[in-house]
């Protein structure tokens, strides 16, 4: 039977799995940023999720809200660049609605993504179509909202898939925000690195919940 939710301790494990996965995705993400940005996205994300991992491992798990805030603060204070602000905000801003929740289930997932999306857009003003991580985050958040009553194990792969399709769509976009902005037509054909990170985070979450946490390797 599909897993309906994670306990706090399991959520820590899931986030650690994401940390491992994102560190293993360093080259993939830098490569993507090299094509349309300055090539440092993987370096920054790997550094941030390494710090997040250290904090998760050294601080006793308490509440869901605190866990996500811990990851958010780690990213915000160690990634730097646009990604640090954006992904830090995703985890910090998305943590608010997790207050009081005991389990990480599909509703918590939807709450995190939707609050996170709102916070990211307030901070960075990017809209869908601007070729940023918002193009993966927005469809993922919307899909999560539709699936709030499913078991987490069933919802997560679909939410990750929605993000993946968002990444695909960024290939057809001309960037209007961030360092790829002036690339114009030349950005066509290349996915947005931050969108790719958004998908990967969700994909690593799905992997853990499906019990495939030994496979934290980039796709």
């Amino acid at each position: 039977m599909a897993k309906t939710h994670l306990t706090i301790v399991e959520t820590v494990q899931m986030l650690l799995h994401v940390c491992h996965g994102m560190q293993a995705s360093k080259d993939l993400l830098s490569e993507a940023d090299r094509a349309i940005g300055d090539g440092d996205h993987g370096v920054g994300m790997a550094r941030g999720f390494e710090v997040a991992q250290q904090r998760l491992e050294s601080q006793p798990a308490t509440t869901l809200e605190e866990l996500f805030k811990t990851v958010g603060m780690a990213l915000l204070t160690s990634v730097g660049g646009a990604a640090g602000a954006v992904f830090g905000t995703l985890f910090r801003g998305g943590a608010r609605g997790l207050a009081g929740r005991e389990h990480f289930d599909a509703a918590a997932l939807a709450s995190w993504l939707n609050d996170g999306l709102k916070a990211v857009q307030e901070r960075g003003k990017a809209q869908v179509g601007d070729k940023t991580m918002v193009d993966a985050l927005q469809p993922a958040a919307a899909r999560a909202q539709e699936l709030v009553s499913l078991p987490l194990e069933e919802a997560l792969p679909q939410v990750a898939e929605a993000a993946r399709q968002g990444v695909e769509r960024t290939k057809d976009m001309v960037a209007t925000v961030g360092k790829a902005k002036t690339l114009g037509e030349r950005a066509l054909g290349h996915p947005d690195p931050g969108a790719l990170s958004t998908y990967l985070i969700l994909q690593y979450m799905a992997e853990y919940v499906a019990g495939r946490s030994d496979t934290a390797t980039p796709p």
Partner: protein, 333 residues
């Protein structure tokens, strides 16, 4: 081919370069404990703080421009990555003396977001901040969307004026006004001849063909206005100057400061040959040059290429520009 660099562990480059820089400041600048921020050892009491910052890897920009009549401190990010809000906040606290702190940096999504987060945190602690984003690169957006333009080497002019203003004027709003005026009067344009590389990956940030250049390319390899075959220097400068002059626009009778900035690996020989053409053009256009700066001030690792920047002066800007200044990377006697 991976770039050959004289470094130790690539993950430590920023820590180590800041250590080397603090040594080079000979006690005039110190590093804050635990964060990559440098601040003046002795702050003139009661002055408005001037905090600059941005990604590292562009040395001597930004952290090399701390000093007398220059910035009071710099928040330093990793290579090509904006500094994080905690670093900016720590520097803000160190600089605030009750008169508030002006944030001055290049207009990039990452810098904007991180400095804004820090500004909100500072406000929660009762520290007033104001922000001037530098957007001098005419190649990066049309004039009607000037606030979408990138900040490039023109940073030096704005920091020079802001440093003098912050040393003279007593209110954050006044320092803001002068700094924003300087920012509004600077225009730059660059050209890339070959790429720099990230120390951590050893990979170039972009690729150009053996006889290609890119006019208007940004400091991190962001696209410019056109990719072309290598041109004679004069023809290239003509193209660049045409865009720069038309943009503000600069007019007959104007007085300007001129900066020809090496992006990292361009020879001084080339910069001087460029200067010759720039001055021929300005002479023809009836634009007087008050001062010339030529060298490496805003680099992009070992990128080859250069940029031309002009700042249009008025009496007030000229006064601040002419004040002596001393920092690691720029000194005016």
């Amino acid at each position: 081919m991976k770039a050959k660099k004289i470094i130790n562990d690539p993950r430590n480059v920023v820590t180590e370069l800041l250590e080397g820089l603090v040594w080079a400041y000979h006690g005039r600048v110190r590093k804050l404990e635990g964060v990559n921020a440098l601040v003046k050892t002795e702050l003139p009491p009661g002055k408005v703080g001037l905090l600059i910052g941005g990604g590292s890897g562009h040395e001597p920009l930004f952290h090399g421009f701390i000093g007398e009549n220059m910035a009071d401190g710099a928040a330093c990010g990793n290579i090509f990555a904006a500094p994080t809000p905690d670093v900016i906040l720590a520097a803000t606290r160190a600089l605030d003396q009750g008169k508030g702190v002006l944030y001055l940096y290049g207009n990039y999504a990452g810098d904007n977001m991180n400095f804004d987060i820090a500004a909100e945190m500072a406000a929660e602690e009762g520290i007033a901040t104001r922000t001037v984003r530098i957007w001098d690169d005419v190649a990066s957006a049309p004039p009607e969307r000037v606030d979408e333009r990138r900040g490039i080497a023109g940073d030096l002019f704005v920091i020079k004026v802001a440093g003098a203003a912050a040393a003279t004027l007593d209110s954050l709003d006044e320092v803001y006004r002068v700094t924003a005026k300087a920012r509004d009067r600077v225009r730059s344009m660059g050209v890339a001849v070959s790429a720099g590389s990230l120390p951590e990956t050893g990979e170039p940030t972009f690729t150009l063909g053996p006889d290609e250049i890119e006019i208007g390319m940004g400091l991190h390899g962001e696209a410019g206005v056109s990719r072309e075959k290598l041109l004679p220097a004069d023809a290239l400068v003509d193209k660049m100057m045409q865009r720069i002059l038309a943009d503000l626009p600069f007019r007959r009778g104007d007085e300007v400061c001129l900066l020809i900035n090496d992006l990292g690996a361009t020879t001084m020989m080339e910069l001087l040959i460029v200067n010759r053409r720039v001055r021929q053009i300005l002479e023809r256009e009836g634009i007087a040059v008050h001062d010339t700066i030529i060298g490496s001030f805003c680099t992009s690792q070992e990128m080859a290429g250069f940029s031309i920047s002009l700042m249009q002066l008025d009496e007030e800007l000229k006064r601040y520009y002419d004040m002596p200044a001393r920092s690691f990377g720029y000194t005016r006697a």
